[in-house]
Symmetry: D2
Subunit: 342 residues, 4 copies
Amino acid sequence: MAVRAAVAGASGYAGGELLRLLLAHPEVEIGALTGNSNAGQRLGALQPHLLPLADRILQETTPEVLAGHDVVFLALPHGQSAAVAEQLGPDVLVVDMGADFRLKDAADWETFYGSPHAGTWPYGLPELSGGRAALEGSKRIAVPGCYPTAVSLALFPAYAAGLAEPDAVIVAASGTSGAGKAPKPHLLGSEVMGSMTPYGVGGGHRHTPEMIQNLSGAAGQRVSVSFTPTLAPMPRGILATCSAHARPGVTADSVRAAYEKAFADEPFVHLLPEGQWPATASVYGSNAVQVQVAYDAAANRIIAISAIDNLTKGTAGGAVQSMNIALGFDEATGLSTIGVAP
Amino acid sequence: MAVRAAVAGASGYAGGELLRLLLAHPEVEIGALTGNSNAGQRLGALQPHLLPLADRILQETTPEVLAGHDVVFLALPHGQSAAVAEQLGPDVLVVDMGADFRLKDAADWETFYGSPHAGTWPYGLPELSGGRAALEGSKRIAVPGCYPTAVSLALFPAYAAGLAEPDAVIVAASGTSGAGKAPKPHLLGSEVMGSMTPYGVGGGHRHTPEMIQNLSGAAGQRVSVSFTPTLAPMPRGILATCSAHARPGVTADSVRAAYEKAFADEPFVHLLPEGQWPATASVYGSNAVQVQVAYDAAANRIIAISAIDNLTKGTAGGAVQSMNIALGFDEATGLSTIGVAP
Amino acid sequence: MAVRAAVAGASGYAGGELLRLLLAHPEVEIGALTGNSNAGQRLGALQPHLLPLADRILQETTPEVLAGHDVVFLALPHGQSAAVAEQLGPDVLVVDMGADFRLKDAADWETFYGSPHAGTWPYGLPELSGGRAALEGSKRIAVPGCYPTAVSLALFPAYAAGLAEPDAVIVAASGTSGAGKAPKPHLLGSEVMGSMTPYGVGGGHRHTPEMIQNLSGAAGQRVSVSFTPTLAPMPRGILATCSAHARPGVTADSVRAAYEKAFADEPFVHLLPEGQWPATASVYGSNAVQVQVAYDAAANRIIAISAIDNLTKGTAGGAVQSMNIALGFDEATGLSTIGVAP
Amino acid sequence: MAVRAAVAGASGYAGGELLRLLLAHPEVEIGALTGNSNAGQRLGALQPHLLPLADRILQETTPEVLAGHDVVFLALPHGQSAAVAEQLGPDVLVVDMGADFRLKDAADWETFYGSPHAGTWPYGLPELSGGRAALEGSKRIAVPGCYPTAVSLALFPAYAAGLAEPDAVIVAASGTSGAGKAPKPHLLGSEVMGSMTPYGVGGGHRHTPEMIQNLSGAAGQRVSVSFTPTLAPMPRGILATCSAHARPGVTADSVRAAYEKAFADEPFVHLLPEGQWPATASVYGSNAVQVQVAYDAAANRIIAISAIDNLTKGTAGGAVQSMNIALGFDEATGLSTIGVAP
């Protein structure tokens, strides 16, 4: 018998991607769809690519509407999840695709988000050490941010194997869907096509403490992170270029071996053969992660690069993967490792 | 028991898209993969988005390699299919994604392709009148061209209902994957990004006689077609803007009614609600067709516009849809109407 | 001595392009810059590509601010030009880049714009018959719309030479800057990249009566126009594919000859050699127009295709070209026929 | 009297951009244009955006053809410049846009280019300390690589002021024109649109030793460089994200002050106001460089980011700027700081 899932925030990009995946999930039946400013509209007008749901009408995000579901996905603006989650019973699986419950450190939350910390939920990145155990049977899941997903998967093997100094430098390029669907001048097609531009430079991006949390967990010590996000002229995808000084004795072979071991049994993370590099186009619409790693002897740095689809593995696919674990389904149910290319 | 399918020409864009779809098809097992100039290479190096097939090795396109399959898909350059098909037994379903067997008129073939006509096979556009019957049980299928698919689905209802004069004007924009994977200077990213440009202007495009064949069949009389293809700065998608003079007495309502009737039971063709227009992004990676139609009273023309994914419904999805009919599967098996957007 | 020019509406795309051109104009000194909602801001924050003007501050659009200039360019939303123009003296050259004064027929204006007709000014398309004479010495100029510029230049030679039936079919693709800088969801980069979509289908686009006006003037009889605009995934450029039935006796040679004659002395319109087709990338940032024409004997249609930069020749470049004529400068002063490519 | 300039390699992207700039240069007359595999072709077929030169015919690159010019620009594949330069007299200004004469260290050349070192010419980056003096009156100029231009301008102030540790980490995104016009599968529009992908990871990119040379020169000690280039879905532009550990005592103010001082008198390098970040779209087609810098106190790193047009300031504009200095013209003659945007 299928689990019944509601999606709060079905009109945005994260909500739309989630619905695309849930439509293909054999164990899920799609229940209520909500969206505040768009309540009352046909989904077909808002998400015209989801033809099977075109005639669904968005409802208000109220406890009554969300009642009677086994799973409730929250694809809401940051800071709004706690109030909705409180109204849902302890037996309902609540999967928060916002930031509200990702950080363990309340001070970090307050510094970067400027509001009181709502709490910490099991973190939906199963590939991290202990990640699956934390999710099994859980009724609350905090889905990671898109950048922390790409960065943590690229770098945790180097830290877990003790190969890298705790001083990571990360430059990542993201497609524009990561900035959401609310219209702003700098996100106009006329502005973004043909342009690369950074933002949140100098440590201010809200995903920074989440990366530090993940990498420090892998390293067993605090890892410093310099993170520069850039906006790339493409709708989807993150390419994360991550590097750190190598510890003494590191070789290209030891780096390769650590990554092969880390990803050997992972269903979604694919270490590319030597000489082949990740491309966001190859994981377009897929839950796969492409990773490659190199050791630059001259600069004595480990360079690990990952490509993900920010909306799939970076948001909605990660949410479904974690839901699968929480509910006892096969982790890959309803998820694909096949990209839409070219 | 799954049918076993071989793909000749697995390294190109059509072959890659076909494999993407076959991987998701519950009744198909993927057998031999061939590619002449790339024989011996890992598929992962050529189609890096198809992770589950990354370690497959391309073979030569020989009768021995293609033997022992229930279905053989031919994704070969135009003119090469006949020689391969001859070597396959009459019980093997051969699905030709090239142009070789699409045209009924040998003179048209010779005029547009400059070589002897190889013959005519059942035509893989089930939505046309009699289209499904021609495919049921067939062992040979000629998959339509991408532009003729988009154009025929946009205009046949107007012709079948006797609403349009036999004088169609078509301007279509295609993504660059329609031009294939062989590197040519004018297809470089540097050239195509930011640019729209026409080609094959003035009646010379090879898909013109195929459109005339389909529309004339619907109209019951010869339809003249003025066709201008343009290359658009996107990897996938066709937007076909098609128009014709309206016959006397035509109204907006009679046009709408004809289209509603024509597509009422179609699993893949979706007539949009009034006021909403097709967008190629909405059918990205999907087998769906979005159609909208208007009647311009001032110019007395019917304007019908369709959006397809040229690689999916326009090539590989159309091939799978026709295969499903030929083999007695449900027509939509393994095919999706959900696009990957944004 | 340089003429002093003010720009009302300096924060939008048309205003920005105009400033780019005026900065390179040897006879113009840039005076006041205004922008209502952005008044008080540095231009560098709004038009970061115009480095020499980065420290200029936008002012309110008031008579006082606009006083003391020889030329005032109006780059305002449609319907706002008349009120500003009234306040400017008869000796000031007013160049309206909006639609307000383009149409001769008040009923057409009211039908398409829904407000009272403000009047008709000399029309800034010098290439039309009598176009230059109308502009010489004029103190008021209505700059044509971007689509009418592309379409009229592509088709007027066929009509002026009596080669085409009065029944034109036009499909044009425009870059997104044509839709302006006001943020709307369907103009987000996430939406437009990878997508082609039509709008204003069925005769409703406001540029239609302007095309009819121009082509009818060339033909000496009323020309019917079916016009379908489409939005293309590029920031700039218009590719207009225009066709009409050929009149009896038309040949490829007579068509070619008419176009060669029409453009022989034009400084900006370039009839391409046979076999070469217009590309919007080739006129990126340039005031040039690329035109090519073909005769399709099978469909008995003339197909004329033009490429322009919608912001340059289609708006700001056309404005400067007309200003040059009005003020007695060489028509090409400060304008380039060199595109920025690739 | 104008200087007469020949361009060897006029059919490629660097050659085309150079011609675009020379057409606007008031002191230069364009002489012979050569291109080996394209000799005999009209330039209009190869560089359709350069309308004023459309009827020029490409010649072979021979001493006879290049004779009689005051300046010869070499836009040839790496390794071919020395042979051509030898045949040109010592009074001819030879501007090499290839790599052949950039590196001072012969061993570096041999390691990265695999051929004997041809020598070292004055380096065409006037903004570096002593840069202008080295170019004044010179008859030989080595134009910098596009990445080294972007990176050196972003980071040299930090090194020259003693603010940064000699350990730079650089991730740069380049438009596809940087990869040239020779058609290769991975450069097809179908492949690059929608995709970000790295290449030359791990220290192997040929521009690495050139960056080290420049930054070490500024620092007065050897600077280690970890450089990762990525290919971005845009035709032009480089965004270079550069960082290094800060030395003890560094503050945001001391960093800002060093950059303000370094660029105070530079005609092309523009330090953006605080809070505004470089965007490649803002320097499209312009010789300007946008730079911004931040100090990340948590990670104790200086992050300097620059945006250039890889073909303009990164290649052809840099060449013209250096030629201007060598010939005694004003450095900015014929060059613009105005981008074509949006």
